[in-house]
Symmetry: C2
């Protein structure tokens, strides 16, 4: 079966006021989501930023853990970051996956809220889609800031339903949302039982 | 029904070499786990540290979001942090819950690995225990650093089974582990279907 990949997108994302923006890369996002991705068997994790200096920062973080003092101190973190890549755009990440897997990925977007008129797919159904994808790779997109812009959500092959809590409050960090999404879609329960 | 609480414990935790240690408070842990706690309807989130200056730091972080510039900029974060408390020890957190709820909490510990001889309880079973707890409050403990010391794991009423990924790799951040734990134990799926 082909690989499932994740991407943390820093552009194009929404600002608080709804405008399109570019977010800065946060060091801890890179570690956290790389570790979560690797724990749930993802084939790779892209950190997407169009800013050269930001991608250079990602490469420095990766080098620290892969070959520097970080490797000696925490070899398991090095293992998780081995599948992490800096990428210029969502399109470039798709191109890398296409080249590696021989087919373009099914693109799954995530959001705390769906844009008007765009239907969402329930976690249990997305989990089935992934289990039955065969030779089609997949790419799960997460937005930083206030989330992916509507255009990305609308153009994705699948928009995963928002993670609903129990209290009507839904402001998870992207690190928490990614962890829950991987667990629901690719964890052991995704194989043996329904999630919602 | 009584409340479920969480606590992020900075002492007593394990160092890499197995010795007991005290970890520093990490700003982002406070936000992340407060937001995850509030999303899944927990009644409160304790940040446990025996060091006065560290608890003072937590109070400053809380004040920033509750009343300072943070409140104006991100009111939803303020809402999540409203239920966050700095606490000197696990015992003190238990005492606060006991005073508030009228009964001592059932203590649930979490770990990436169970100590020898200590049985673990599956997520589905813990979820049932919580759903049927009635007037008994509950406190879910998370360890920073390399996890809670064995004594805490052994003395807890329940040791929740480790979160297993799919690749034999299990080095989730405490932020990711807390998010997945809340989702599995208290999310919508915990009510309607088995998780493992």
């Amino acid at each position: 079966m082909s690989g499932v990949y994740s991407a943390l997108v820093h552009y194009p994302i929404r600002e608080r006021d709804g405008r399109t923006a570019t977010a800065s890369v946060t060091n801890i996002d890179v570690h956290d989501i790389a570790r979560s991705s690797h724990t749930f068997g993802l084939a790779g994790f892209f950190v997407v930023s169009p800013i050269d200096a930001q991608r250079a920062l990602v490469v420095r973080i990766l080098e620290h853990w892969r070959s520097g003092a970080g490797l000696r101190r925490m070899p398991h973190r090095s293992e998780a970051l081995a599948t992490c890549l800096a990428s210029e755009s969502i399109e470039e990440a798709c191109a890398v996956i296409t080249q590696r897997e021989g087919r373009a990925p099914m693109v799954l977007a995530t959001a705390a809220r769906a844009p008007q008129g765009r239907s969402v797919t329930a976690f249990a159904e997305v989990s089935r889609l992934l289990a039955e994808r065969g030779e089609v790779p997949a790419l799960i997109l997460f937005g930083t800031g206030h989330g992916l812009v509507d255009q990305v959500l609308i153009e994705a092959d699948v928009l995963v339903e928002p993670i609903r809590g129990v209290a009507g409050y839904n402001h998870l960090s992207v690190r928490a949302a990614a962890a829950i999404t991987f667990d629901r879609l690719l964890g052991q329960a995704a194989v043996t039982g329904p999630h919602d």
